[in-house]
């Protein structure tokens, strides 16, 4: 870590944020962002007006925090293009998004069209694009949204790219703005405290919603040394897990697995842990499960190791929570101090006796901080930050990345659900969340589970296997649930909001349903945007190559509601087609051992930040070159290029292909047959390529130029692009 940046209700700027944390000074107050008088809870923590800016406040927060982090790291304009970008958010796009939905419902066409002129304020990809464009970032990029563990997931994603040697510099962080849809959802779930957030306290009554952005600059250790950067801390390890059980009630075993994996990744032991920064939401269920997990991790040291949680002072910044806790963890190591546990009013006799940081700020001489984050769907991420060793001895840990790994990933099965006339058949109406008969699955979860059943068969056991991960991509996710919440708010007010709609509204809900159904306890990640299916497959590959998972269920999906179709048409994608593609990637040696045939190998991948709303020809050519280099494939080896379906990029793709591969390369266009499968386009291209290689030729009508025959064993290049989402 060489740079930090924060925009928060308790302080704008990392140092102001730190001073408020140390003083335990919160900013809980009534607010005016929307009319809260209809709710039982009427308080939150909001960022001061001058930091909100015009447009989507989530974007304004992100730009300001990122600027601080990059400047803090000492990266000038010339150095920034080398930097990659990992962004997490849950609520970006929903401030203007609520207005867009209202305009749609009331048939206010002028407002609807006018709002669509600014997609950066409507789509989460807008944050990615705004950051990349403002700071000229040109490295690898990703946009993630696994609920309240999103920020920590983005930091882990960025760290893996640095460790793997893809990039020396990464800007990673998260942003979320307070929105009524989220407030109404937590309210319906009775998770909002009426006065204060009191993590791990007796009488805690829930969380206080908050907002802001926090960003960190991650840097390869040798790179930081070479340029004489001030190293604030190092991210020694990280661990991701999924409870694979209840959609919203956390389980201690999942949290414990994430913490242990992070410590093991840092090549340390639980005995080495010096401080824990808990997720600590102040909800009854979270704190009980997390206290149990921490007590189990620390064993006899439970009364020695201090435990704090920033939410007692900061409140809950939703998807950005992990980034704030990470910044606090780094500052804790840098300042040698531990912030107090805000809001604490007394011990809960029902919890294990943790050494809670209840006596104000204290020195923290420890060498590390373990930072937890958890979210709906049972996702957990732990980040293990360590104090850098004194520069006199010089050595930071340089981890061997995937280039030194002997593992490689192969596709052993794949299934694609493609719709007639752009819509998929309705899933079985009787599908329920595993073990929860009162919680029927919605359409999008049903579609994804149906594909999984086609791929894996019915679930035989729900015993949790921590070596199996679920890594998916989507454009729209579960936002049909938000449509329902918005409609309920407009028609009936807060009382009309169905708590189940919020419980299954996070982008990771279908992936979590899969994990729960099959007992997949490894990482559970969701990438967003038009190129997210490709990003998911890349991350799945790395999970296997790095040894974090032996098998990954990956792919992408999109449910197209009438509203989302209308939005897509307005944004220039009238041919969107509902698609779910799932595949199993597994360790080649394991596949061979169990006699599973390898259908394909993922040879290489590259993604690049969005420079413009849509990539141009040089953008695409450059990204392709990196992917070919990663794959150790010559341009002459490539047998075909499968085009991304977005028409806005068509001429750029054709030009890039001609410039790299000459005029004779086979170009495959799947849009006549499948339309635009959005996030699932790249996984669908993989499915078609595998089937075509088996049959010996590409499907009729899909070869735009070149030969229909496909030679098994020769590489195929698959393009993926998305509006404001970069290219892969």
């Amino acid at each position: 870590m060489t740079g930090l940046g924060v925009v928060s209700p308790i302080g704008v700027g990392a140092e102001a944020f730190w001073r408020a944390l140390i003083a335990g000074r919160d900013a809980v107050a009534p607010f005016t962002i929307f009319d809260a008088t209809r709710y039982r809870t009427r308080i939150a923590q909001t960022v001061c007006e001058d930091a909100r800016g015009p447009g989507d406040p989530a974007v304004a927060f992100a730009l300001r925090a990122a600027e601080e982090a990059l400047t803090h790291a000492g990266l000038d304009a010339a150095q920034r293009p080398a930097c990659g970008l990992a962004v997490a958010t849950t609520a970006a796009g929903w401030t203007a998004g609520q207005r867009l939905f209202e305009a749609y419902q009331t048939k206010d066409h002028p407002s609807f069209e006018s709002l669509l002129e600014h997609p950066e304020a409507l789509l989460k990809e807008g944050t990615l694009w705004a950051l990349a464009a403002r700071f000229s970032l040109e490295g690898p990029c990703a946009l993630l949204s696994p609920a309240c563990a999103a920020a920590s997931s983005a930091i882990a994603w960025a760290a893996q790219r640095v460790r793997d040697g893809d990039c020396d510099l990464m800007l990673a962080g998260a942003t979320d703005a307070l929105t009524e849809v989220v407030f109404a959802g937590f309210h319906a779930m009775r998770l909002l405290a009426e006065d204060a957030c009191r993590p791990f306290s007796a009488g805690r009554r829930g969380l206080v919603l908050s907002e802001g952005a926090a960003f960190l600059v991650l840097e390869n250790a040798a790179h930081a040394r070479a340029r004489g950067a001030n190293v604030l801390a190092q991210l020694g390890g990280w661990g991701l897990s999924c409870d694979a059980s209840h959609p919203t009630t956390p389980a201690s075993d999942g949290m414990l697995r994430a913490m242990k994996a992070a410590i093991e990744d840092a090549r340390l032991q639980p005995e080495d842990v010096g401080q824990i920064s808990a997720h600590g939401t102040g909800s009854v269920a979270n704190d009980a499960a997390e206290a149990t997990a921490i007590a189990s991790l620390l064993a006899e040291r439970v009364s020695d190791v201090p435990v704090t949680a920033v939410k007692g002072t900061l409140g809950h910044t939703e998807g950005a929570a992990g980034a704030f806790a990470a910044v606090a963890g780094v500052l804790s190591l840098q300042h040698g101090a531990r912030p107090p546990l805000g809001g604490y009013t007394g011990a809960d006799a029902g919890l294990p006796p943790l050494r809670l940081a209840t006596t104000g700020a204290e020195p923290h001489p420890g060498r590390n901080v373990l930072v937890n984050a958890s979210g709906f769907g049972g996702v957990n991420v732990s980040l293990f930050f360590e104090r850098p060793l004194p520069s006199a001895t010089g050595q930071l840990k340089d981890e061997p990345g995937r280039r030194s790994s002997t593992r490689h990933a192969v596709v052993t099965s794949i299934v694609a659900l493609t719709g007639r006339d752009g819509s998929l058949a309705e899933p079985d109406a009787g599908l329920c969340w595993p073990g929860g008969r009162s919680l029927p699955l919605d359409r999008v979860c049903g579609l994804v589970l149906t594909a999984a059943q086609n791929l894996l068969g019915a679930s035989e056991s729900t015993a949790v296997d921590p070596a199996v991960a679920v890594i998916l991509g989507t454009s729209y996710g579960s936002q049909a649930r938000h449509e329902r919440i918005w409609a309920a708010l407009a028609q009936e007010g807060p009382r009309g909001v169905d708590p189940n709609d919020f419980a299954l509204s996070t982008f990771n809900a279908p992936g979590a349903a899969l994990a729960g159904n099959y007992g997949f306890g490894g990482a559970n990640l969701i990438f967003l945007g038009g190129a997210s299916g490709a990003a998911a497959i890349d991350e799945a590959t790395r999970q296997i190559v790095s040894g974090r998972a032996s098998r990954v269920l990956t792919g992408a999906y999109d449910e197209l509601t009438p509203y989302f179709r209308r939005v897509l048409a307005g944004l220039g994608t009238p041919d969107a087609s509902e698609t779910v593609v799932l595949l199993v990637l597994e360790d080649a040696a394991q596949a061979q051992q169990r006699g599973a045939a390898s259908l394909a190998s993922i040879l290489g991948f590259a993604s690049r930040c969005p420079r413009n709303r849509w990539p141009d020809s040089p953008d695409l050519a450059e990204t392709t070159c990196v992917a070919l280099r990663e794959a150790a494939v010559e341009t002459s080896d490539v047998s075909a290029v499968v085009l991304d379906p977005n028409q806005q990029t068509r001429s750029a793709q054709l030009e890039a292909a001609r410039s790299l591969f000459g005029p004779d390369v086979t170009l495959v266009d799947l849009t006549p047959r499948y339309g635009n499968s959005l996030a699932a386009s790249a996984p669908l291209a993989l499915d078609v390529a595998i089937e075509s290689a088996r049959r010996g030729s590409w499907p009729d009508g899909s070869v735009l130029r070149g030969v229909a025959a496909i030679e098994p064993g020769r590489p195929v290049l698959i393009n993926a692009c998305g509006l404001m989402a970069g290219r892969a």
Binding site: G436, R437, S438
Partner: protein
């Protein structure tokens, strides 16, 4: 809803609908809401429906005291009297 329908019958009907139960005969006053199939999310949905159908507002503190079918009946009776 008919005029003759009792509060118990109306509440029972909500639960039968939500949980897709065969009938409401299991819903004795002592019946634990958890045992009849309401997990934490199911309980939230049940109470949200009650708030809408009976036009009452249930505080978080009242919500936390609800354990049995009889508790729910008594709470609504009290809130409607209030």
């Amino acid at each position: 809803m008919t005029a003759a329908e009792t509060l118990e019958q109306r509440l029972g009907a909500i639960l039968v609908r939500q949980l897709k139960l065969g009938n409401a005969s299991v819903l004795l006053p002592d019946a634990s809401l958890e045992d009849v199939g309401l997990d934490s999310l199911g309980m939230l949905a049940f109470i949200a429906t009650i708030e809408r159908e009976f036009d009452v507002s249930i505080s978080d503190r009242d919500y936390e005291t609800l354990a049995t079918f009889g508790d729910a009946v008594a709470l609504i009776r009290r809130l409607r009297r209030d």
